[in-house]
């Protein structure tokens, strides 16, 4: 059993939790996230880290930070709500997919098989959180500037596979597919936290195995103030918020 100390950094603790979870069979894990809204400063580092980690083109965003302004200028306060994929345990997007291209993994992550997805975008209409985007084949520089920037053609390593991106071939997946946050499965497999969690400057994000009562994320999710988005829909998100 891990020793609970006050001095250990949360990041170190979460890495230990992660290593412990990876020892278990995949179906005994339940990857989950807790976001402490009091610690979020709205810097969007998570949004950018996600874009960079997954090599996301324009129009594809797995994470956004929703901002709300309270009061009238200049007497205003601001509130931030980072929104990754909720990795629902009863995902409406999975139910509507006509070809089982998107599915819920045993560890709770909702994944997409890029080589199967027909691109009907039914899942985009079905997601109550706007967490899915479609890859229309946009590039930041290709077609806009004389030189194609390296980051435009840099491959993505989602799902532990290499996905090339070629402005000359707009028919190769994941172009033409629905795309979504994977909790950085490719990083998890290597014992690393999701990019948005690692980068968070306010340490607002907690990640780990909800199915491990000793993990930090499970403790945070058990907090009496933890809530989930649109809980009334019965989607059972794996992302909790501490308001």
């Amino acid at each position: 059993m891990p020793v609970l100390t006050e001095t250990k950094s949360n990041i170190v603790r979460m890495h230990e939790d992660l290593a412990r979870a990876l020892q278990k069979p995949v179906h005994e894990r339940h990857w989950g996230m807790v976001i402490d809204l009091r610690k979020c400063v709205g810097c969007n580092a998570c949004t950018v880290a996600c874009k960079s980690e997954n090599g996301l083109p324009p129009g594809v965003a797995y994470n956004v930070v929703i901002e709300e302004e309270i009061g009238r200028f200049p007497n205003v306060g601001r509130r931030f709500l980072p929104r990754p994929c909720m990795q629902c345990q009863k995902p409406p997007c999975v139910k509507v997919c006509p070809v089982n291209a998107t599915y819920r993994r045993p560890d709770g992550v909702v994944a997409i098989d890029y080589n199967v997805c027909i691109g009907c975008r039914y899942c985009l209409t079905a997601c109550p959180y706007g967490a899915r985007t479609f890859d229309f084949g946009e590039f930041y520089t290709a077609g806009h500037t004389p030189e194609v920037a390296a980051y435009d053609t840099a491959p993505s390593f989602e799902y532990g596979r290499m996905h090339r991106r070629d402005p000359e071939n707009l028919h190769e997946s994941p172009i033409g597919n629905a795309r979504k946050c994977t909790f950085c499965l490719h990083r998890l497999d290597k014992g690393m936290l999701p990019a948005c969690v690692s980068i968070c400057i306010g340490r607002a994000r907690y990640f780990g195995d909800l199915n491990d009562p000793y993990s930090l994320v499970a403790r945070m999710a058990a907090s009496p103030r933890a809530m989930r988005l649109k809980e009334e829909l019965g989607t059972e998100p794996s992302v909790y918020y501490l308001p």
Partner: protein, 413 residues
């Protein structure tokens, strides 16, 4: 071929030829140049798709009046209705096919179906329906094919092939054909209700879009299908049959009154939907309706939808339409085309409200812009022109070459 068929064929070819540019772009660049995005993932092509599927279901259900419910009054339109249903179905499927991000993978719906998705159900039902329509059309026209097979013209050769080696046969054979048609038509009625109600269900099951998420929605789809299909068939009866509105005066007037009743049902459902949604304050229900009435596309609702698709036709059908078949034909044609506006307002308002409040300001990127008003791109319009052109060409060629106005159904008791 007759004059109106040539006109329709030429219009079809011109529209199709213009649309080829769009199709080339579609095939070369995928969905890069569409006007929609992740915020509005279903747009113009889906509107056209449900429009044509509705026309198909409506036309077929009206053909069942002849072949299942034996209403002799509508007999001259029977074969035409089945043929119209077939062409509308093909056009609809063309639209939904070009809308796929990976067009080459559409067969997956057959070999790795996920039956928890209503989309799979409707595609399978469309497929069954397609073959049923082919079979029904063949049994309806088999004797005419066999009869015309001896002509020394292109038509004769075509009919010889289409007769599939069968002979015209005795009146008993004719009766057998019609029995088969009746059986197929009877199977087709629940099938048409299922696949079009199912198309409504595709929308209705998405709880993320409260505008669609209601039990009324699939029924509303059926009402719209019957009304639009009825309008189209009335127009076809009036204008595609030479002097149809004079030769088949009673038929056109009868279809006109039927259309009036169907439009009434459509309006009733829309009113129910609107009143209930507007009464409360929940934005998820209120905003989509408010957008239709006062949003940037207010004219689609008020002028094309309420005015041309429903209002003017209802007024004319209830007044001069009782006696004047030409007026019935004209307003039916207008209504059939304008029904596209009603289909637009089924799809687009579903996306009026962002999924989470404030997400519209969180990110603005190409194809991911909650703040922009959706305007179909040129490429979308050109591809639409291509698909509609294909439909028009098939329709006019079929009308010119097939025995769609063949002899009446043999009387049976």
């Amino acid at each position: 071929m007759r004059k109106q068929l040539w006109i329709l064929l030429i219009i079809g070819l011109v529209v199709l030829a213009g649309g080829i540019v769009g199709m080339v772009d579609r095939l070369r660049f995928g969905l890069l140049h569409v006007g929609y995005g992740s915020r509005i993932p279903w747009a113009l092509w889906v509107v056209f798709y449900i429009y044509f599927i509705g026309l198909s279901a409506g036309a077929f259900l009206i053909s069942s009046l002849v072949y299942v419910f034996r209403m002799k009054r509508f007999e001259p339109i029977g074969r035409i209705a089945v043929f119209t249903a077939l062409i509308s179905l093909i056009t609809a499927l063309l639209f939904i096919w070009v809308d796929l991000g990976h067009m080459e993978r559409f067969l997956e719906v057959f070999y790795r179906p996920a039956f928890h998705s209503p989309l799979v159900w409707i595609v399978w039902l469309y497929t069954i329906y397609f073959f049923l329509l082919l079979a029904e059309a063949w049994f309806l026209m088999r004797r005419s094919f066999a009869h015309g097979a001896s002509q020394p013209s292109f038509k004769g050769t075509l009919y010889r092939i289409l007769a599939l080696g069968t002979k015209e046969g005795s009146p008993a054979d004719a009766e057998r054909d019609m029995r088969v048609v009746r059986v197929l038509g009877t199977i087709g009625v629940p099938l048409a209700i299922a696949f079009h109600g199912g198309t409504g269900t595709v929308f209705a099951v998405t709880m993320a879009r409260p505008y669609w998420y209601s039990g009324l929605f699939p029924i509303l789809f059926l009402a719209s299908a019957l009304a639009s299909g009825g309008a189209l068939l009335t127009a076809v009866a009036a204008f595609m049959i030479p002097n149809g509105y004079q030769r088949h005066r009673d038929l056109v007037l009868g279809l006109g009154q039927l259309l009036l009743a169907l439009l009434f049902v459509e309006v009733l459902m829309e009113i129910a939907e609107f009143l209930v949604s507007l009464y409360g304050t929940a934005p998820a229900h209120f905003v989509p309706i408010h957008e239709q009435l006062y949003g940037p596309y207010w004219w689609v609702f008020w002028i094309i939808g309420l005015g041309l698709a429903v209002g003017v036709p209802m007024i004319v059908l209830a007044t001069t339409g009782r006696r004047n078949p030409l007026a019935v034909g004209v307003v039916s044609l207008i209504s059939a085309v304008a029904f596209l506006a009603i289909r637009w307002n089924i799809v687009l308002p579903g996306f009026a409200l962002p999924e989470l409040p404030g997400i519209e300001n969180a990110i603005v990127e190409p194809h991911l812009n909650y703040l922009a008003v959706y305007v179909p791109s040129w490429m979308e319009w050109l591809v639409s022109a291509f698909a509609v052109g294909v439909g028009l060409v098939l329709f006019s060629l079929g009308f010119g070459l097939l025995p769609l106005e063949g002899e009446a159904v043999p009387a049976e008791g």
